[in-house]
């Protein structure tokens, strides 16, 4: 239980059906900071450090944490949109970390992404049909244009857009409609795994629910697996089977959704959960307010990254980074020895 690897191995078993669909081991991304004439490296932004998890078939893993904690970098590294500094990404057991772009292409259609910003994620100069048909054009070049159009129409219908959307440009749509276009684009290549990078945080609450429901319906229909990145804990609770909580590039807690919400262990998780608005005025909740800002990922504090803001921190917390340890439920892992 002392190595981060142990987490993914311990978690692999309950997912069943011949191993997880996507598995990440010790993923690390440190962006170099270059300065001066010779662009010498003067430091690193330690966005992601030794993150390990897996996503099973037809399963949703929620990834939560505040802005800048590295969750988006994790999602983009999985698709190699950001090159990981080290670590391994396995898709159906195959290591895709070192593949060249050409070798990666066949895997691309199985792993897709839905972006947060519905405005910058659609090319303003392409029609909706061109946007959705882009993937199929790359992966199935031989298909006739009539068939391709039929495919686009089918996807539009499925994501809840009228067929006449096909000839329009993205600016003619609302945020929610654009997000549906983004979903259709990802679905067009029949992926089995989709990284949902805060797909609803830019939308109105009423529209959020529609998009979440659409994502869940699609998951049921197509046996999709999601890595659902968000900072809204209630959304994550609703859609995910398991949740990983990130802080400053580290996973600090990793558990089944029910366990995590019923029995949060890590002080950071507790603080996050206490920030979720109450559902009824009768709910009694202890509001825990964190002081200060997250430290800079360029020079993270020694030891536990959360120690400077932690209400229960001890002097030894700043000496050594604690390991993820199993506590409580069998698949509940917490990076804090003080709450055991």
């Amino acid at each position: 239980m002392s190595e981060p690897n142990a987490v993914s191995q311990a978690q692999a078993a309950p997912a069943g059906q011949g191993g997880p669909l996507v598995e990440v081991k010790d993923l690390r991304k440190h962006f170099p900071i270059r300065r001066g004439l010779l662009s010498s490296v003067v430091g690193h932004v330690k966005a992601v450090t030794d993150v390990s998890f897996h996503v099973g078939e037809a399963e949703t893993l929620g990834l939560v944490g505040e802005s800048g904690c590295g969750k988006t970098t994790v999602g983009r590294s999985l698709l190699r949109l950001v090159e990981p500094s080290s670590g391994t990404i396995l898709f159906r057991g195959k290591d895709i970390t070192q593949l060249s772009n050409a070798e990666l292409r066949p895997f691309r259609r199985h792993m897709q992404i839905i972006f947060q910003d519905p405005y910058s994620s659609l090319n303003p100069r392409m029609t909706v049909e061109q946007i959705i048909a882009e993937g199929p054009l790359i992966h199935e070049p031989g298909v006739s244009s009539a068939q391709r159009r039929e495919h686009v129409m089918e996807l539009l219908r499925r994501v809840g857009l009228p067929p006449e959307s096909a000839d329009r440009y993205p600016h003619e749509f609302s945020g929610g409609q654009r997000q549906r276009i983004g979903i259709a684009r990802a679905l067009a290549v029949n992926p089995s795994f989709i990284v949902c990078d805060e797909p609803v945080s830019a939308l109105d609450v009423s529209v959020q629910a529609q998009i979440i429901n659409l994502l869940m319906d699609l998951q049921a229909e197509r046996k999709l697996s999601y890595l659902f990145i968000a900072h809204d804990l209630s959304v994550v609770e609703h859609i995910s089977q398991r949740v990983a909580v990130m802080y400053l590039g580290h996973i600090v807690e990793y558990a089944n959704t029910t366990d995590l919400y019923a029995d949060p262990r890590h002080p950071y998780t507790k603080a996050l959960l206490s920030a979720v608005p109450k559902r009824s005025p009768d709910d009694v909740k202890e509001r825990q307010i964190l002081g200060g800002e997250p430290p800079s990922p360029i020079s993270p504090p020694p030891g536990c990254p959360f120690a400077p803001r932690c209400p229960i921190a001890q002097p030894e917390c700043s000496k050594k980074l604690p390991e993820l340890e199993q506590m409580g439920a069998p698949s509940h892992f917490v990076r804090c020895p003080l709450v055991k």
Partner: protein
């Protein structure tokens, strides 16, 4: 799912479709005026041999420096009809202005795209080369190039080709820098990431995503460059490196008239006005073109 569908139909109705962009842009009087001036100038240039009342080198002894009247726009110091010379001169000005811009646009866009998109050492090499070219005073560099290719018995077409080449070679650096900065912005947009996640090749991303989103500034800068190149040709002609006399160009006529501005004003004013109006028309037309090409501009 049933309740879902009900919510969807209510929420996902589309906004009404606006009128086609081209139609809307063409309804703008500014566009019509600019296009009219450009077409008129082009027509005059192309039809000069048939439309011009006199030949461009016909001299009428004793009728030098006549004010506008019998000769519509007057005559110059050698007794040549200014209107006819301006019509022939439009050929040179337009050919050089348009083609030199095209040359510098091609070079600038290619350099900017490659440099911005690929980054790294390709970026460093290309941008340092761009800096080097930009460090030369542009007219001086153009002069050097035209002087190197100045041979006796050159035909008109050869001479014009040299001018186009010279102005095109010195004029692309601004475009390259502009395109590069655009590419750097666009490269980070999520639709480019989406295309990469779909497995698109670099060539596809550059041609389908990056270039189309650079079009607006390219057009604006190119239309401004047309004016600049018409003036550049005028400068070279003035220095004797342009087309061979007696063939006219607007810049050359302006240069010839410089000694008579206070006495025979029409010799300078008419070619000068022609330059101003043509450059203005290209700029306004470029503006309209940008609006028409931008899906967001006319909601």
């Amino acid at each position: 799912m049933a309740t879902d569908a009900a919510i969807l139909t209510a929420a996902e109705r589309l906004a009404p479709r606006p009128a086609p962009r081209w139609a809307k842009a063409l309804r703008n009087p500014r566009t019509i005026a600019a296009l009219a001036v450009i077409l008129l100038t082009l027509a005059m240039a192309l039809c000069a041999p048939w439309l011009a009342p006199h030949g461009y080198k016909d001299q009428y002894r004793g009728e030098e420096n006549l004010a506008p009247g019998a000769y519509l726009l007057g005559t110059d110091d050698l007794g040549r009809d200014i209107l006819s010379r301006m019509m022939y001169g439009a050929q040179v000005s337009l050919a050089v202005g348009l083609c030199a811009t095209l040359v510098s646009m091609l070079i600038g866009v290619a350099v900017g795209l490659l440099s911005g998109y690929f980054g790294g050492w390709a970026d460093s090499v290309l941008m340092r080369f761009t800096d080097t070219i930009a460090a030369f005073p542009s007219l001086l560099l153009a002069m050097a190039i035209t002087a190197v290719y100045d041979r006796p018995h050159q035909t008109m077409a050869e001479r014009i080709a040299v001018l186009i080449f010279a102005l095109g070679i010195v004029g692309w650096t601004g475009m390259a820098r502009l395109v590069r900065s655009q590419v750097l912005t666009i490269k980070g947009e999520d639709y480019v990431n989406a295309a990469r996640a779909l497995g698109a090749e670099d060539r596809h991303i550059i041609l389908r995503h990056v270039l189309p989103n650079c079009v607006s500034p390219i057009i604006v800068v190119a239309t401004l460059a047309i004016g600049g190149n018409i003036l550049g040709e005028a400068g070279l002609s003035f220095l004797g490196l342009g087309v061979q006399a007696p063939f006219p160009s607007w810049g050359g006529m302006l240069a010839d008239a410089r000694n008579y501005v206070d006495t025979f004003w029409w010799q300078a004013v008419f070619p000068g006005t022609a330059i101003v109006i043509t450059v203005l028309a290209f700029n306004l037309f470029g503006d309209s073109l940008r609006d028409a090409l931008d899906p967001k501009a006319l909601k």
